[in-house]
């Protein structure tokens, strides 16, 4: 019962994240979506091996999830830096353009 509940929650989280990753235009939102997706998978994985009896819990999925969390934070960080770089150069371009427009308006 608990297995199923959390498995389904995990899968739905995965699908939410997938939808956001595909359909949202903003990069930060995409990266958030990716994070939700991976969290969903991790939940699904661990929920599968959940037992009420603590002694018979399979530790391998937990180790896998730990690995996964670290990998996912690395990817998130790289993606964020890339997105930041992009937005910064776009901002600069925009500022330049505005400055030029203002200058032109003042002259005209």
């Amino acid at each position: 019962m608990t297995n199923m509940l959390y498995s389904f929650t995990g899968l739905i989280l995965f699908v939410f994240g997938l939808f956001a990753l595909i359909s949202c235009p903003h990069p930060l939102r995409k990266i958030l979506g990716g994070n939700v997706m991976s969290t969903g998978i991790f939940l699904f994985l661990v929920a599968t091996s959940y037992r009420t009896d603590t002694a018979s819990i399979d530790p391998v999925p937990q180790a896998m999830v730990l690995t996964g969390i670290v990998v996912s934070v690395s990817i998130t960080a790289v993606a964020l830096v890339l997105a930041t770089r992009l937005q910064q150069s776009a901002n600069r371009a925009m500022n330049r353009r505005e400055k030029k427009n203002e200058g032109g308006a003042a002259e005209g």
Partner: protein, 500 residues
């Protein structure tokens, strides 16, 4: 004493060490990486030799046998890819040496090439680690980790040039790669849920057409197709490959997509072929056909050389997929070994092409196809390398591409699957058209051709490309050796399924 089996760890450990060292000590990172690449190719040769002596091997990391531990394995497909990355790895390292020293000598680019070179080596070595780890790994979760290693380092490499276009492409590539590996991981979870093991060998013994396996394979395949840039999920590839630095384009187009393709191949043929219905294979073939035609047509329409080459990658990847239905129904057990053979031929050719394009770009400052005429006067070797690599893409004898195409045509005609044969031929014609669009520019020297100064280190740029191009061109003549490797590496069960 160190046992002979431990050679299997060398292709992972040595590039890894080189990556760490070249990040730590900046001076001489070039030579550290070059040495690692050479040791890597030697290790691959030793592993091939061991394979011929004693057959496929399995190696338990940490002394823990599967299912508890992780195993590394050498078999035909893994070894052929290992040799491929080994050889091309040395060539790419040499090329990158020439490339960066060329750029650093140009004073206009204050400091930027130094930065690029400094980070290129650790990223490239980590990429190599990831690829080798993927080929050798016998554990589906471990493969996930190597996939991420490949994906992140590829994104880092793609972003290295620092231009906005390449940063955009790198971000998109990273997200796509994340999506792909997440799908793969979901499949891993399904498999673990169904069978409770992660080892490929054990899974192969257990796998049957259960819902868990089908679901796992479906999501894994979609993820891997996305990572391999199979039409219609190829959108991310051309900008990423075309905007990167030349050695990086070569790595991405030649090796990185082959990594995820190899995994796809392994899952479909090696592990789960008994579990799959025929329609699944036909679907793969249909995707391949779409890729061949779409990629070819797009390549014909491009105005820039690197974009043309990138689209040709999409087209060529289609061939590898068309082999899926053919190998499944073709009756000839050799068809599927043709796939990897063709993939490696294509890798050599594509790397040579991107290297040539990079050399041309360094000298001319642009890569507009219409303005390439005359370059042969200064870079004859590069022009020839491009053309020779083109022969492989066209699938003319005696190239590796021809051998692959020959086997596929035999398979399709002997089972009366005319459609695949026609698509294969159409793809070849498209390849002729887009290869010669460039070659005709490279082969003529108009009287008013601009004068170009040749860099003293240009040899380092030209010769690796030529050697790889010649390997791809003459691969058909040495076909018996790699094919023997694949033949003996084939698991008996697969022979039975495909052959019978």
């Amino acid at each position: 004493m160190v046992s002979a089996e431990s050679w299997i760890a060398v292709p992972v450990v040595v590039p890894l060490a080189a990556a760490l060292l070249s990040f730590l000590v900046r001076r001489g990172s070039l030579f550290i990486s070059l040495a690692a690449a050479i040791i890597n190719v030697l290790a691959a040769a030793i592993l091939v030799n061991q394979f011929f002596v004693s057959g496929p091997a399995q190696y338990a990391v940490g002394g823990w046998d599967p299912p508890l531990g992780i195993s590394l394995r050498t078999d035909g497909p893994a070894l052929i890819m290992l040799v491929l990355t080994g050889l091309t790895g040395v060539a790419i390292s040499l090329y990158a040496w020439g490339y960066f020293s060329f750029r650093i000598d140009q004073p206009a680019r204050a400091g930027r090439p130094e930065k690029q070179e400094r980070f290129f080596w650790p990223l490239w070595m980590l990429q190599l680690t990831g690829l080798n780890g993927l080929f050798l790994s016998g554990d589906i979760f471990n493969i996930y980790v190597t996939l991420e290693l490949i994906g992140v380092s590829a994104a880092g490499l793609a972003a290295l040039s620092g231009k906005s276009a390449s940063i955009t492409a790198a971000l998109r590539y990273l997200l796509v790669s994340l999506l792909g590996s997440m799908s793969y991981l979901l499949g891993v979870v399904f498999l673990y849920k169904t069978y409770g093991v992660l080892d490929l060998g054990l899974l192969q013994k257990m796998a049957g057409p259960t819902p868990g396996v089908i679901a796992a394979l479906a999501v894994m395949s979609v993820g891997l197709l996305l990572k391999t840039a199979i039409f219609p999920m190829h959108f991310w590839l051309p900008p990423a490959h075309a905007n990167a630095l030349a050695p990086v384009s070569a790595i991405l187009s030649g090796l990185v997509v082959k990594g995820s393709f190899f995994l796809l191949f392994r899952l479909w043929f090696d592990i789960f072929s008994p579990a799959l219905p025929h329609t699944a294979f036909s679907l793969m073939g249909a995707l391949g056909a779409g890729a061949i035609l779409w990629g070819g047509i797009q390549a014909l329409r491009q105005q820039r050389l690197k974009l043309l080459i990138a689209y040709s990658t999409i087209s060529q990847l289609g061939y590898l997929l068309i082999a899926f239905p053919l190998a499944f129904t073709g009756g000839n057990s050799q068809t599927w070994s043709a796939v990897l053979f063709m993939a490696s031929g294509h890798a050599c050719a594509k790397i040579a092409m991107f290297m040539s394009a990079g050399t041309i770009m360094l000298h001319l400052g642009h890569d507009r196809i219409r303005e390439l005429a005359g370059i042969r006067a200064y870079l004859p070797v590069t022009a020839f390398a491009y053309a020779a690599a083109g022969v492989n893409l066209m699938g003319l004898p005696p190239s590796g591409g021809f051998i692959g195409k020959w086997m596929m045509l035999i398979a399709s005609l002997s089972t009366h699957q005319w459609l695949w044969a026609l698509v294969l031929l159409a793809g070849s014609f498209l390849a002729v058209a887009y290869v010669f669009r460039v070659v005709e520019q490279l082969f003529v020297i108009p009287p008013d051709a601009p004068f170009i100064e040749r860099h003293p280190r240009a040899g380092l740029l030209e010769w690796p490309a030529l050697i790889l191009a010649l390997i791809s061109l003459l691969m058909g003549l040495i076909a018996p050796y790699p094919l023997r490797l694949l033949d003996t590496g084939m698991a008996p069960q697969v022979v039975q399924v495909i052959g019978g």
